[in-house]
Symmetry: C2
């Protein structure tokens, strides 16, 4: 896959220093106008937590795990055949990997960076290198807002979150299963989900992975939008593949993975390891397992179709020791992410890592603290694709409306963080000191006036007014302000234009599939 330039209109696409155009649009109150920030580029170094010795020790352990224990591929003879042909030791469904084999396959053909195309070319994003993409949370059966509390997800809620992501300048991607539309049959809801991403947004999106045919149909719908030839040579949809940790790929997952790879579409390979349950309780052990499992998935993409785009993912978690419940925003996964970033950079493949995680049921202090810790780890570890960057509540069981806009606002702050601090003569400002001198103020000096409007990140949701102003405006906490915000955004939403012929083709495709297949509800 070639490393294409991202199509961009420089007047529309604000990258790097916080996306000023987008910010101005937002300040101007145009919450309904989707400001364009097509990804953000990292200008700061990653946080190098471990010295070389520790990294080599982990790599050696990953190779030992792959060689000695290996993984199982259950119910997918074609995957076993591919591994056998690649030189792995296949024993029944168990696959063991000669030292260095997986690493070599991953390195040989996995693109270090590729373009994930959106139907609006100005929204296409780069995955890999110094590019960072924020994508909504994924997979919640429930939704939450502070007025109505928690209830099951539906296609209506699904569309709402697609619209909110479309309208959020700091969310670059439309995501995948932004919530489960449990009001639709399980064997058909992927059609409505993919359609919602295409129809109500023009950002890049993810397709279904819950069965091979659903993956195929997600890709088929993308072909109706982008054209068959284009899709064969460009990434236009991605699938998020979970490993059945520890050390197992079941047939549904490995076949969906191969479906995306076969179509030259991107696969995100993500082990989810709850320490002490699906993997060792120690973080080092969980990292070794996670890397081994993800590398095997990325390598299988390369065996299915060399050069197909893939993202090495991970999801480290911690556990409440008394109850066994997962915990989030804790120190161990944050540090673990930094280490995973170091390992991924040495492999040279794009990384998915971390998200706005929390165990809280509300977008309260706990939620925002845990999410801040977790998202800072994402940008500090060098993640390229940050799934779950907005909306996550309750360990992923609920997608929150207020949480979504609060998280999206923090993604804006992280744009500025990623841009770093310029160190040049103008920024050092000796000229300003000469103008002002001891004991005077800098309000009116030329340097201040020149930089004032763009000097600092300014949240669109934080309250920085005086106590009296805040009290007189109703003493709102941040979740109440967030409630006002998402309601205003949805009220002002306008769908992006779509070619009526494409829309018709999509609707016809969906109608045909739905007609041909009886509903399944579990």
């Amino acid at each position: 896959m070639e490393d294409e330039a991202i199509p961009s209109d420089p007047r529309m696409v604000a990258r790097g220093r916080g996306g000023r155009l987008a910010r101005r649009a937002l300040r101007a109150g145009r919450v309904g106008a989707a400001a364009v920030v097509a990804g953000v580029r990292r200008a700061i170094p990653a946080y190098e937590l471990l010295a070389e010795e520790g990294i080599v020790r982990l790599e050696t352990a990953i190779d030992a795990l792959l060689q000695e224990i290996g993984l199982e591929f259950r119910g997918d003879p074609q995957a076993l055949r591919l591994w056998h042909d690649a030189g792995a030791d296949v024993d029944g469904e168990r696959v063991r990997f000669p030292r260095g084999l997986v690493r070599d396959i991953v390195r040989r053909t996995t693109p270090a960076r590729f373009i994930h195309h959106a139907r609006n070319p100005a929204r296409s994003v780069a995955i890999g290198g110094s590019d960072v993409v924020f994508s909504p949370a994924y997979g919640s059966p429930f939704v939450h807002d502070i007025d109505e509390g928690r209830r099951y997800g539906s296609i209506e809620h699904f569309r709402n979150f697609v619209k909110l992501a479309y309208l959020s300048p700091w969310i670059h991607h439309s995501g995948g299963t932004v919530c489960e539309p449990v009001d639709l049959p399980v064997n058909k809801r992927h059609l409505d989900m993919v359609y919602a991403h295409i129809r109500y947004s023009d950002k890049a999106f993810m397709g279904s992975v819950t069965a091979e045919e659903r993956a195929e149909e997600s890709i088929a719908m993308a072909r109706l939008v982008f054209g068959t030839a284009f899709v064969d040579t460009h990434c236009v949809v991605m699938g998020n593949i979970n490993v059945n940790s520890p050390l197992v790929y079941d047939a549904a997952m490995s076949k969906a993975l191969r479906a995306y790879a076969r179509a030259n579409q991107c696969t995100v390979v993500v082990p989810f390891i709850l320490g002490g349950a699906m993997g060792p309780v120690t973080t080092a052990g969980a990292i070794v397992q996670s890397m081994a499992e993800a590398m095997v998935g990325v390598a299988l993409c390369q065996l299915e179709r060399p050069g197909s785009p893939a993202i090495l993912g991970n999801f480290l978690s911690s556990t409440a020791l008394r109850s066994g419940a997962p915990t989030f925003g804790t120190p161990e996964p944050a540090l673990g992410s930094l280490i995973v970033g170091q390992l991924a950079r040495r492999l040279g493949v794009p990384l998915r890592c971390s998200g706005a995680f929390t165990a809280s049921k509300l977008p309260d202090g706990q939620a925002m603290l845990e999410s801040a810790v977790s998202m800072q780890a994402a940008v500090q570890c060098g993640a390229n694709f940050v799934l779950h960057a907005a909306g996550w509540l309750e360990g992923g069981l609920a997608m929150g409306y207020e949480k979504f806009v609060l998280d999206a606002d923090f993604c804006g702050a992280l744009h500025t963080y990623l841009a770093g601090i310029p160190i040049d003569d103008d920024a050092i400002a000796l000229e300003a000191f000469r103008e002002v001198g001891p004991g005077k103020h800098f309000f009116g000096c030329a340097h201040t006036l020149r930089h004032f409007e763009t000097a600092f990140w300014e949240s669109g949701l934080a309250d920085n007014t005086s106590f009296e102003q805040w009290r007189d405006a109703g003493s709102q906490d941040s979740m109440r302000r967030a409630n006002d915000r998402w309601r205003a955004m949805l009220a002002a939403y306008e769908a992006p234009p779509i070619d009526p012929a494409v829309d018709e083709a999509l609707l016809a495709f969906m109608a045909k599939v739905k007609e041909d297949r009886p509903d399944m509800w579990h």
Copy 2:
């Protein structure tokens, strides 16, 4: 000042990996028993944001600012005399510093690390090197809790926060002006504040800096506790000196600074620069100014008494561009802290940096997100003394009860963060993979059982239960849980023992000073 070993009872002092003893005490519900964690040691590297070139550029600019513009010392002829004798160019009250002079004075005699003694030797903390000390917020005129809202501080509230800090295992230090006791005369309240630190806690504390005589009297009270000879050779109290930015020391500040240095007590020198007001609006310029101002203060301590302990402080802030109000927890100060850390390490002096900052009026999502960003910068930048680590609300105008315990809990998480991730054979756990294998769970394996109790940080305030458990327990948000916590802590508080003769001497000293001096109320 010698680099003493910290007196410690290994059964009582839990350092490094999260202070397990303290954690267990807390879990056991003994909220009234002050678990002991005397500081925490950093086992992770600092986050190196800038490459050598950028750092050198900043150092060159700091030297240029000191040489060309210089600083003013207003109303303190003795300070001017010290600078003149050290080789500076003194012109009226303006002092200009030949290139390298300030840096040389700082480097020559400032201790890289020293012990800040507490009246309970097990609570003494090390300042500098890889040691990190968390201290409460400082200086708020108001206090806040969610039941009664915001009101003025008082000596009663002051004592409450001293008690809460005493009871918090992750807060190592009793702080200074934990809130302003506005019910006491301004020229006498320092006596009651210092007495409260000594009487209601046994952790190390800070004295007054608002006038030279108040600094002297704070030190005099410390002498009654520790003995005159001990105080002359050991740090037992510290003063937090604010620079009158830009580039001015007024007489009150430089004289209080010299009082602490003269007594061989620690001075924390802290410029507070609101970008665009008291300094350049660009972060690089604010860093240059802050470093120049703080280095001059630390150097003045060394001129007053070579070898006296000092901490190089800074307080970078950002501004809401529309209103000019200060903002907190934003990206620029977080990144700025990382750079300041790099500069401080090259000077070889202890660093004070960052805190649990927020502009929010409540301990809500905004507050905890902003504080998390700011506190992560503190531990990542290599700060040794973190003032404002707990309680800060509303840009420092209010000290919050719920905020205090929420922040203190996060300080606990940061203990685990600072400990890093062990990478050894036991943690890598190949043995566990051999025992468990693909598709099985790790619940009962030997490795899990061995590590389970100490594997993860577990918050004492976060809710990690299921939605149903949380709902049935009253659907509390984190500030409501924090309210229960601080009330329970104060209810269970028991004062640490104190020698009755010392107590009597302190009370007699205070009575004498109060009698001899008419009340001042402003």
